[in-house]
């Protein structure tokens, strides 16, 4: 696109173009080889019968039908959906509440912010390992609370096939809720003071202002947070490996881990490529509407930046 900024540049000598073009070569190579080329390769392999080495034949959608006949894959999709809904909802609610409560002129605000956000600085692996111990029924929270005298206390999600995903959600929310808090807090601080003055003059209770006036205005913050969180949902891998290694049994299998296992452990790259193509389509379906909305918003809003 050759859209020039409004004040037309004086002269555009040809020489300047090739230097810039040359400088963009690494980026062009990245886009063409590392992203588009590999994508095309993966999609192509997903239509072949490749097992441990890529084979150059064409078997149509056979790998896809195998994939969707696989219990393990279906379970991993189910787990991802369950995780995604619970994780995003819990992070948004908890993050918003934390931001609102912190915004009440409390003392020690800086300290509280630090406490809520520090898990986000830690890796998913470390986070997962910590929670693996905390949730271990023999030595973790369950044992700890029982030792305090509440003998019947039960908290064994991580070893239960039905509840293990909730344990993973718990750890992931602990890690990421602070991020949502930070984004929401920034949104809250961006709201015009006149709104608060007007609400005070009209005698509207504060909770009502938050619910009916502030919440709708935080739309963009919620959007950003939701996109960030959903990208991490699709990539969900580290925390599962660290917490449960997919277990008990395959109860906490997720797509990313399914693909990694079939690529490197089970030498089944045709099937894994089909699975990763499905994953890619899911991500595009999630991201495309948001990117589109943003680019439209930018165009309608005009005046984007100083140049």
């Amino acid at each position: 696109m050759q859209t020039l900024a409004s004040p037309a540049p004086r002269r555009r000598p040809r020489a300047r173009h090739w230097a810039a073009q040359l400088a963009l070569l690494p980026m062009a190579a990245t886009v063409l080889l590392a992203y588009l080329g590999t994508l095309a390769w993966s999609v192509r392999v997903s239509f072949s019968s490749s097992r441990s080495l890529p084979v150059d034949d064409f078997v149509g959608l056979a790998q896809y039908s195998r994939l969707f006949a696989s219990e393990r894959w279906l379970l991993s999709l189910q787990n991802l959906a369950l995780f995604g809904v619970l994780f995003i909802a819990a992070c948004l609610v908890l993050g918003f509440l934390l931001a609102v409560f912190i915004d009440q002129q409390v003392s020690g605000e800086g300290l509280l912010r630090t406490v809520f956000l520090y898990p986000y600085a830690m890796s998913f692996v470390a986070t997962g390992l910590v929670w693996q111990w905390l949730l271990n029924p023999e030595l973790g929270l369950q044992a700890g609370v029982r030792a305090l005298g509440w003998e019947q206390f039960g908290f064994d999600w991580i070893v239960s096939q039905d509840k293990v995903m909730y344990a993973i959600v718990l750890a992931a929310v602990w890690q990421a809720a602070g991020l949502v808090m930070a984004l929401m807090l920034a949104g809250l601080r961006g709201i015009d003071d006149s709104l608060w003055k007007a609400a005070r003059i009209d005698g509207i209770p504060r909770w009502r202002v938050y619910l009916s006036l502030v919440l709708p205005q935080l739309g963009p913050s919620f959007g950003t947070a939701a996109v960030l969180l959903s990208v991490s949902v699709v990539k969900l891998f580290d925390v599962v490996v660290a917490m449960t290694q997919g277990g008990p049994g395959v109860a906490s299998e997720v797509p990313a881990k399914f693909i990694m296992d079939h690529l490197f452990g089970r030498a089944n790259i045709g099937l894994a490529s089909a699975a990763s193509t499905v994953m890619l389509l899911t991500v595009l379906a999630l991201v495309a509407p948001w990117l589109y909305a943003r680019s439209r918003g930018a165009r309608l809003g005009g005046q984007e930046g100083g140049r």
Partner: protein, 305 residues
């Protein structure tokens, strides 16, 4: 880029605070603090348990008092975690992983930031043909799950003998960091007045001279954000290190997971927790020292257009 999209966390105490007088102690007020304190307890619980457990001898841990303070404080688990814990057959602790992580993080951060800045600069000021289209595809690349492109990259890297080498893992971090880094710098350079660039052109500055002598020195604030972001992200990376680093260069996160999840015999919880803290120390320090810059970095990762 509008500045409001960047979180400006510190509250001007004059503005809204003055309008809403500091509330007196009331049941509502108590509720606010009760909520915040219980939330803080939830967030601090794992850190407390980690710290306390890491200085207990195993005999105390076996008793099962998770919350109890240590009766006898010992630093032995920390020493073991650093230089004696076993991953599989080797028992050298995770200090090797620490060194590997440093060796990976430093060049990866520098190289990925350099290319991000270069791309952003070329896109914003020179607008070469096809640049915008390339940039759009690159942005989509930020959302591609690693698994989708991983296997072909492994094969390509193996074909040119980069697989499992230090330059290989640096290159892979550069490839995957490029979308966000380019975006950040492009947005930053867009806020630089065009007149400045024109003046430099009139003074006879060429492509590289303007970049190295004018734009890069001006980019200090965004470079700080980018460094924080990349150091944290690359240090915390697990999957790329697992696949691309090779046995010789496994980063600390991968070694940590190996220490803990391949243990045979009794699990040394105190050593494990010390190892986890050690692994998290660098990003935690970055976070604590950088304050709100850290939040800016995350928000910049939220792909703003």
């Amino acid at each position: 880029m509008n500045t409001r999209s960047l979180p400006a966390l510190p509250l001007g105490p004059q503005g809204r605070a003055a309008a809403r007088r500091r509330a007196r102690w009331s049941p509502g007020r108590l509720g606010v603090y009760a909520f915040l304190l219980s939330a803080a307890a939830f967030f601090l619980l794992p850190l407390y348990v980690m710290l306390v457990t890491s200085v207990k001898p195993m005999e105390e841990i076996r008793l099962g008092h998770l919350f109890a303070l240590p009766v006898k404080v010992t630093l032995e688990p920390w020493a073991l975690a650093w230089s004696g814990a076993c991953t599989g057959l080797q028992c050298e602790g995770i200090r090797g992983g620490f060194l590997n992580s440093v060796l990976i993080v430093v060049p990866s951060t520098l190289v990925s930031i350099f290319f991000g800045a270069l791309n952003g600069y070329a896109l914003s000021f020179w607008r070469p043909r096809g640049g915008q289209a390339l940039f759009l595809v690159l942005l989509l690349g930020a959302f591609v799950p690693y698994q989708v492109v991983m296997f072909p990259l492994v094969r390509a890297f193996a074909a040119v003998s980069l697989f499992g080498t230090l330059p290989g893992i640096v290159l892979i971090h550069t490839l995957f960091g490029m979308p966000v880094m380019t975006l950040m710098f492009r947005n930053y350079y867009r806020s630089v007045p065009g007149e400045l660039f024109k003046a430099a052109r009139i003074d006879g500055g060429g492509f590289w001279r303007i970049f190295l002598q004018l734009m890069l020195p001006m980019s200090l604030p965004i470079v700080v954000v980018a460094v924080i972001m990349q150091v944290t992200a690359i240090w915390n990376d697990f999957i790329l290190g697992l696949v691309f680093a090779g046995r010789e260069h496994l980063p600390m996160t991968v070694q940590l997971n190996n220490v803990i999840n391949t243990t045979t015999g009794e699990r040394l919880y105190n050593v494990n927790m010390a190892a986890t803290i050690l692994t998290s120390l660098v990003p935690l320090l970055v976070y604590l020292l950088s304050g709100r810059w850290f939040v800016r970095g995350i928000a910049a990762g939220a792909v703003k257009g």
